[in-house]
């Protein structure tokens, strides 16, 4: 074999190798990303096609481009509002100085911007409310679930109540919570606004159940062998709960917590819509009431944001669950 043929061979060989590996690589990329992207593209196409055909009293249903446009708009509005806030603060300062000149004994209060919350502010409020409600639910559900799991008596006492209250929708709780909070949560300088407390408690009431049930089941199903270990070691009650019961209930508990957080997010949006509590739900409701030609697009932006945040919350819970769960690889 002479050099020329060798070179020719090599040169004909190398591209084919590259093509081959490229093909493999692209197939792998397609496998990982292709299906979701294709699904997304199909969805957008169907959306666009369907949108043009649906005629609502607010004009035709917005397509993906309208919604993207409104998303950008909402961001612009957010920026504009921030600028207004800066101007407001300056103006406030001037007014304070003017009054101090007249009324030197006055102790000025420098307040934050009093303008309306933007879409992004509403997202923040919703997240804060849902996390507070979820935290409150967890703080109640986990200890109660442990008690239920450890004591057959407590379980028999509480379980019927759980079964009755579990299927109650937030729509039913809301009026009761609103009235009770209005009657009970009375304070001149409340730490939290009443609407926040109402949403938080409504969220808590609806999302407490999966955590409660799963925790109690997790505790009940502690393996008899581990209980025997604990008995042989004569672990005290508290040590037993801390070293044996809690860790073994963790996988079940976290499954419950994840379901709870999902419910909490869903319930929150409904609660905000109904109760005029600030947040994404109120944004949707306000836009619905606006009835302007942009309203539907803006609501769609909110719908997508709600879905995306719900998804992210679940992912975050999953990451935490993977970190604390001793059943490696058992979580998906």
């Amino acid at each position: 074999m002479n050099t020329t043929t060798l070179i020719r061979q090599l040169s004909s060989y190398r591209p084919s190798l590259d093509r081959d590996s490229l093909l493999k690589l692209s197939r792998r990329i397609l496998g990982a990303l292709g299906a979701p992207l294709l699904g997304l593209a199909m969805f957008l196409l169907l959306w666009q096609l369907a949108a043009a055909r649906i005629d609502t009293s607010l004009g035709s249903f917005p397509g993906p481009m309208d919604v993207a446009g409104q998303a950008a708009n909402l961001y612009q509005e957010h920026r504009a509002e921030r600028e207004r806030a800066v101007v407001f603060m300056e103006r406030q300062e001037q007014r304070i100085q003017a009054r101090l000149a007249q009324d030197p004994d006055w102790e000025p209060v420098r307040r934050g911007y009093t303008g309306p919350p933007t879409f992004f502010d509403q997202i923040g409020t919703s997240l804060l409310t849902v996390l507070a409600g979820f935290a409150l639910a967890s703080v109640i559900a986990i200890p109660l679930g442990i008690v239920m799991g450890l004591s057959r008596f407590a379980s028999n006492a509480i379980n019927p109540l759980v079964q009755i209250f579990k299927p109650v929708s937030p729509l039913a709780w809301l009026p009761i919570v609103t009235l009770v909070v209005a009657a009970v949560y009375v304070s001149d300088d409340p730490m939290f606004s009443r609407s926040f407390v109402v949403s938080m408690i409504t969220v808590m009431l609806c999302c407490i159940w999966p955590t409660l049930i799963n925790t109690s089941v997790g505790v009940t199903t502690v393996s008899q062998d581990l209980n025997n270990v604990s008995r042989v070691l004569r672990l005290g009650w508290f040590t037993h709960v801390r070293r044996i019961v809690l860790p073994s209930a963790i996988p079940m508990m976290f499954t419950g917590l994840r379901v709870s957080l999902g419910i909490a997010w869903m319930v929150l949006i409904a609660a905000e819509m109904l109760a005029q509590n600030p947040g994404l739900g109120k944004f949707v409701w306000d836009e619905f009431q606006n009835g302007s030609s942009d309203s539907l697009s803006r609501i769609m932006v909110a719908v997508l944001a709600i879905g995306l945040i719900g998804f992210l919350l679940d992912r975050i819970m999953l990451i935490i669950q993977r970190r604390v769960d001793w059943q490696k690889g058992a979580v998906s």
Partner: protein, 281 residues
């Protein structure tokens, strides 16, 4: 000499939906300090019930169990148990599993450093020090059982109870662990009661083999003294006539005198109550 453990006239009845089930009837056994006793019998014969009674996990319906002159009424670390399926806490590392026991048993008796040395010592005994930071799901079944033994040993028990400790392991691993156990026994000379299905294991390890009759109302059928010199070597013993004689005695008890005679279909049905017995055991 006064026996370390005295099981006298023990009967055990479990309530079941179909009425009482008598698992054990009139069991009498004395175990001396430093003795290695195996309990052998068919499944469902109440071996585990005996062990759980001694462990204090059950209370005898009649009769009594006396350890060191004191009646056994609850579980405790002086009667450490090596469980059949290791029963390690899956969320703790090997080290932490042993540490949990050591901290509980030696609280106020050993300093922090002494505890650390003691854990290390016990893990070393079972050759598991190299895997001390692994979690149970990261090690093999045999290794898990070694940790289970280390945990039990670390409690410095008066009596070590082993519930088919090698039952779930493959033959090779089992042999390894039996050797390790003999090695430890040579060093510590613990008093041990072990449940087994395995005739070779019983003969190889024991000073006495307690053979149990079939349930219900199981009791001790025969007791065989194994007077083989220690240290014992499994390869050397394979051709040892005395060893084979002992083996033969046990086998004939199990498969001639206490042979299970029910037809297959009955046996399947009958296995239900006996399984409740073991499940409760």
């Amino acid at each position: 000499m006064k026996p370390l453990l005295d099981i006298s006239s023990v009967s055990m009845r479990f309530p079941t939906p179909k009425g009482e089930f008598e698992a054990l009837k009139d069991v009498n056994l004395k175990v001396n300090q430093g003795e290695f006793v195996s309990l052998i019998g068919h499944s469902g014969c109440g071996k585990s019930t005996v062990l759980n009674l001694v462990g204090g996990l059950y209370q005898a319906t009649t009769g009594g169990i006396i350890l060191d002159g004191k009646e056994v009424s609850e579980p405790g670390p002086e009667r450490a148990i090596v469980f059949q399926n290791h029963s390690l806490l899956p969320w703790l590392s090997v080290w932490q599993n042993v540490e949990l026991a050591v901290k509980e048993v030696f609280r106020g008796k050993k300093s922090r450093a002494e505890m650390r040395d003691w854990i290390e010592h016990n893990l070393d005994l079972v050759h598991m020090l190299h895997a001390k930071d692994k979690r149970p799901d990261e090690i093999s079944g045999g290794m898990k059982q070694r940790v289970g033994i280390a945990r039990a040993l670390a409690m410095q028990p008066r009596l070590l109870l082993m519930d088919e400790p090698f039952g779930a392991l493959d033959a090779l691993t089992r042999a390894h662990l039996q050797d390790t156990l003999m090695e430890i026994q040579r060093e510590l000379n613990n008093t041990v009661i072990m449940i087994t299905h395995d005739v070779d294991e019983a003969v190889l390890l024991s000073d006495r083999i307690v053979m149990m009759t079939n349930g219900p109302s199981a009791t001790i059928g025969e007791i065989l003294n194994v007077e083989l010199p220690r240290p014992r070597n499994r390869i050397a013993l394979a051709d040892d006539p005395t060893y084979n004689h002992y083996r033969h005695d046990v086998l004939s008890f199990l498969y001639e005198k206490q042979r299970k005679v029910e037809p297959f279909s009955r046996r399947r049905k009958a296995s239900a109550p006996s399984e409740t017995c073991t499940a409760q055991a």
